[in-house]
């Protein structure tokens, strides 16, 4: 049987922002490791975007050596405590696990988390970096892509400075993913590890505004990695979207996670919500928003134009949200947001949908049902229909080639149209997972290493 980590009681957890999953106990972890077949040709590793040697770390855990297990993971993954918590393992390592054929894949995520939570005391700082080579590299953006690139480059011996525009580092790990899925203490520990590798983190610097890319080169940086993320919130373009109490998911989550509005008035950033919230969209960001709103004491509906099957969010998150009392308002398309005379939301006008033939994305196309308009009784609306790449740098630096979809153009080595400037993660692919961005960060670190080696070679 697959061991499930204990979770905080539903009745309790909807009243707090503490982590939902309590993680494995020692016994659970051992039991789970004993189920692993330690395959000779492990498929799970192929499913991991950063190629963690999964059977080896599981074996080390089985031998009760969490520190060594963690060190093994950290050979490939700089943020295991994060990944163990937020990776969609069902689509990656666990999806490939041979036991998944019987629907009982090893709970690799929980084990990864266990290894990082229990192995961290001695593993932090014990990572030996290569001899420093005195070549300076600037990494822009401290989300998963930037952190990974920075850590890998530091391990290779480069002097890395990580620039972040917000006042705390971590990118989406800090402003986006809520405390109850990813405690900020864990993020701080991972950042501490990366600083321990010699990476210098500079917050409050917006590249493109505080410094241009040219200025970075003038300051002696030999290469730049752009891990800018997909930060531009999308709106529906329906009437009423600028009413008060209509938020983009980004704004809602940033206020709550980064600015800690859930601790208002201890923290001074407010969030103004009513009693009944509609969250439009059905991805992880929508569910994160919905579950935050629930914890602030609201009645919450997810409004989605297709059905549960087509939802892009992780199944685990959908289940958690439903258990907690989030209502799914399916086959529903918002038409306009209704406001009162003071400019606040008083309702969401919608129409009913049915599913038709599959569209280009392979998902069934939602079609409107005639005369099915109705008004959802809500006083707050959160728009969570996706984010596109952050356009700020592309606008500030005309030499950066930007694709029509807003992503930054890169070649097969992740180099942008400016020599020595690399990019990866959501800014290149559009919104994707934490681990995919980390994979890109790794690839970019290697590419930068190669690029600089070639430069040194041709110079001598």
């Amino acid at each position: 049987m697959r061991n499930k980590a204990k979770q905080q009681d539903i009745g309790e957890r909807i009243k707090n922002f503490s982590e939902v999953s309590c993680g494995y106990s020692n016994d659970q972890a051992r039991l789970e490791t004993e189920r692993c077949l330690l395959c000779k040709e492990p498929l799970c590793v192929k499913g991991c975007p950063v190629g963690i040697d999964i059977p080896s770390f599981i074996r080390l855990l089985r031998e009760n050596k969490p520190e060594e297990a963690l060190r093994k993971i950290k050979e490939k993954n700089n943020l295991p405590a994060v990944c163990g918590r937020v990776c969609p393992q069902e689509d990656q390592c666990e999806g490939r696990c041979i036991l998944n054929k019987k629907n009982i894949p090893i709970n690799i995520g929980a084990l990864e988390r266990y290894a990082s939570d229990y192995g961290k005391q001695s593993a932090v700082g014990s990572q030996q970096s290569a001899k420093k080579n005195n070549l300076k590299i600037a990494v822009v953006g401290s989300g998963p892509a930037g952190l990974t690139a920075a850590a890998d480059l530091a391990k290779m011996g480069f002097l890395v400075t990580l620039f972040e525009s917000l006042h705390s580092a971590g990118g989406v790990l800090s402003y986006g993913i809520p405390e109850f899925r990813l405690p900020k203490k864990i993020v701080a520990e991972e950042l501490g590890y990366i600083q321990g590798l010699g990476v210098e983190i500079k917050t409050d610097i917006l590249i493109g505004k505080t410094f241009s890319l040219n200025e970075l080169f003038e300051k002696g940086y030999r290469a730049v990695f752009l891990g800018l993320g997909a930060g531009l919130p999308q709106f529906l373009g329906i009437p009423g979207e600028n009413l008060d109490r209509v938020y983009s998911a980004n704004e809602f989550l940033t206020r709550i996670n980064l600015m800690k509005a859930y601790k208002f008035p201890e923290y001074k950033t407010p969030i103004n919500i009513g009693k009944k919230i509609a969250v439009i969209g059905a991805g992880n960001v929508a569910f994160d928003s919905a579950r935050c709103a629930l914890r602030l004491g609201c009645e919450v509906s997810i409004v989605y134009r297709r059905t549960e099957t087509e939802m892009p969010a992780r199944i685990e998150e959908i289940e958690n949200a439903q258990e907690e009392g989030v209502h799914l308002q399916l086959l529903t398309q918002p038409l306009r947001i209704l406001g009162d005379d003071k400019g606040f939301v008083r309702g969401l006008e919608c129409q009913k949908m049915k599913l038709g033939e599959p569209d280009a994305s392979g998902r069934k196309r939602p079609l409107p049902l005639k005369d099915s308009d109705f008004v959802l009784d809500v006083d707050t609306v959160i728009v969570a229909i996706g984010q596109t790449p952050n356009p700020l740098l592309g606008k500030a630096e005309s030499r950066i080639k930007v694709n029509p979809q807003g992503t930054i153009f890169v070649d097969e080595n992740l180099m942008t149209s400016i020599p020595g400037v690399f990019a990866g993660g959501d800014i290149v692919t559009g919104a994707d997972t934490v681990i995919a961005a980390m994979g890109a960060g790794k690839k970019a670190a290697l590419a930068i290493d190669n690029y600089l080696k070639n430069q040194v070679k041709s110079a001598s």
Binding site: L206, L232, F235, N242, Y267, T269, I271, G343
Partner: protein
């Protein structure tokens, strides 16, 4: 950490601080702003850069204590530090030799027209300044501006200084008298910063005379890097982000009614602090 090296009370509840922020001082241009976080628990609030000294590496911020966050900032004095300052943000003011430019400042907005007046003058414009406030004690920077402007007017609601009335009264007088005399002195551009109602009134007036008018908006912001949309405003029927597309927009295109409503989004909460 950004150290405050000087602090002056300009008027009741209007304070001026000079802060060490070398990188920003070297980079900033008129019309740009910074976001500050006074303490770890504070809000991120945008403040226009009122002046800067690239040699000394300092920027000057002038703010009115209108809510909790500005009051909290007002408690800091020389030697204290502001935890975080990000900038320079937003698009700089479009500065060139337009001919005649009228700069209108209301309340603490007077501080925001100061760097623009300076730059417009330097670019060779004939600059007319009009500033206004409720009463004499709230008028700031009058000597500095008088010095820079070719013609300079003050209004107060209660008549305690300058002409009794609103900045738009002067503006109206100017348009009328100029029209009567010579068109060579007709303003080519109006630049207005102040309370939303003032910017709206100025824009309504200049629209009748078809004079291009730039206003600097102050929507509610969080990140101020284009990530959240808290600062969205409607300009010419399109939704734009005040922090990255602005803060300056064509006053004839701005939906001021919507902006007023959006500025009330958090009022109740903020008043509770």
């Amino acid at each position: 950490m950004f150290k405050i090296i000087e602090k002056t009370n300009l008027a009741p509840q209007i304070k001026k601080i000079v802060v060490e922020a070398g990188e920003i001082a070297r980079k900033a241009r008129p019309g740009q702003f910074v976001v500050i976080v006074s303490k770890e628990s504070s809000e991120r609030i945008p403040l226009t850069i009122a002046d800067l000294n690239p040699q000394e590496g300092t920027i000057t911020l002038i703010f009115q204590e209108i809510g909790f966050s500005t009051r909290e900032l007002g408690l800091l004095g020389p030697g204290d530090s502001i935890q975080h300052i990000l900038g320079p943000l937003g698009q700089p003011t479009d500065i060139e030799n337009f001919g005649t430019v009228i700069c209108v400042g209301g309340g603490v907005g007077i501080a925001e027209i100061y760097p623009v007046v300076k730059a417009m003058k330097k670019a060779g414009n004939r600059v007319l300044g009009i500033i206004g406030a409720r009463k004499e004690s709230l008028i700031i920077l009058k000597e500095e501006l008088r010095e820079l402007c070719d013609e300079f007017f003050i209004t107060t609601d209660d008549g305690s200084l300058g002409k009794k009335g609103l900045v738009t009264d002067i503006l109206q007088d100017l348009f009328t008298s100029v029209e009567k005399s010579t068109h060579t002195l007709y303003p080519n551009r109006v630049y207005a910063v102040g309370p939303v109602v003032m910017m709206q009134a100025v824009s309504n007036l200049t629209k009748m005379y078809n004079i291009k008018t730039i206003v600097s908006l102050n929507p509610i912001m969080v990140d101020a890097t284009g990530m959240c949309g808290s600062c969205r405003v409607s300009v010419g029927g399109k939704v734009v982000f005040g922090c990255v597309d602005g803060p300056e927009f064509d006053g004839h295109q701005v939906d001021f009614e919507e902006l007023k409503k959006r500025l009330n989004s958090f009022k109740e909460k903020e008043d509770s602090l």
